[in-house]
Symmetry: C2
Subunit: 109 residues, 2 copies
C-alpha cells in the first residue's frame, strides 16, 4: 500500500467522530441527515468528515433520490491492518488478548 494512502486512512481514523461514523455505517448505510442526528454537531461538519472518509476510500456514496447514501468501504481497513501486522512480532505482552484477536480473525471462515 502506498504511503499516501496510509496517510489518508490513518488520518481518517485519528478522529473519533469519523470512527463513530464508520461504526454507524457498519450497521447500515445512512444519509447525511441520519448521521447528523447521531452527533451533537452541525450538518456541514458531518459532510466534511464524510469527505475525509471518502478521500481515504473508506466510504462511497450514491444518490438515492434527494438523499446521498453513504456506504462503508472497509477495504482500506484491511490494508491498514496489513501494515500493522508487520509489527506483530513486537507485541510483547501476555498473549491473552492476542489470542482473542486471533480467534476473532479465525472465525471469519
Amino acid at each position: 500500500m502506498e504511503d499516501d494512502q496510509l496517510d489518508l486512512v490513518f488520518g481518517a481514523l485519528a478522529d473519533r467522530t469519523r470512527r463513530a461514523i464508520l461504526a454507524g455505517l457498519a450497521r447500515a448505510d445512512a444519509n447525511v441527515a441520519d448521521l447528523t442526528a447521531m452527533f451533537t454537531m452541525s450538518q456541514p461538519a458531518i459532510s466534511k468528515h464524510l469527505k475525509v472518509l471518502e478521500a481515504a476510500g473508506l466510504v462511497s456514496r450514491t444518490r438515492q433520490g434527494t438523499m446521498r447514501l453513504s456506504h462503508l468501504e472497509a477495504e482500506p481497513l484491511r490494508d491498514a491492518t496489513g501494515w500493522l501486522a508487520d509489527y506483530r512480532t513486537y507485541w510483547t505482552e501476555s498473549y491473552e488478548r492476542l489470542d482473542e484477536l486471533l480467534d476473532s480473525l479465525d472465525s471469519l471462515d
Copy 2:
C-alpha cells in the same frame, strides 16, 4: 481501548515520518542523532515526532549516558489492530490477501 488512546495512536500513525521512525526502531533502538541522520529534517523535528510517539505509547526512552535511546513499544499497535479487526466482516474483496494476513498472524505461535 479508550477513544483517547486510539486518537493518539492513529494520529501518530497518520504521519509517514513517524511510521518510518517506527520501522527504524523495529530493527534496533536508536538515539535522536541516529534518527535525524535517517531523514532530511532537523533534530528538533525528530524530537517532536518522538514526543508524539511517546505520548501514544509507541516509544519508550531511556538515558544512556548523554544519549537517549528510543525503544519501540508495539503494544498500542496491537490494540489498534484489535479495533480494526471489528471490521473484518466487511472486507469484501477476494480473500487472497486476507488469507495471507491470517497465515502470518497464525504463524505467531
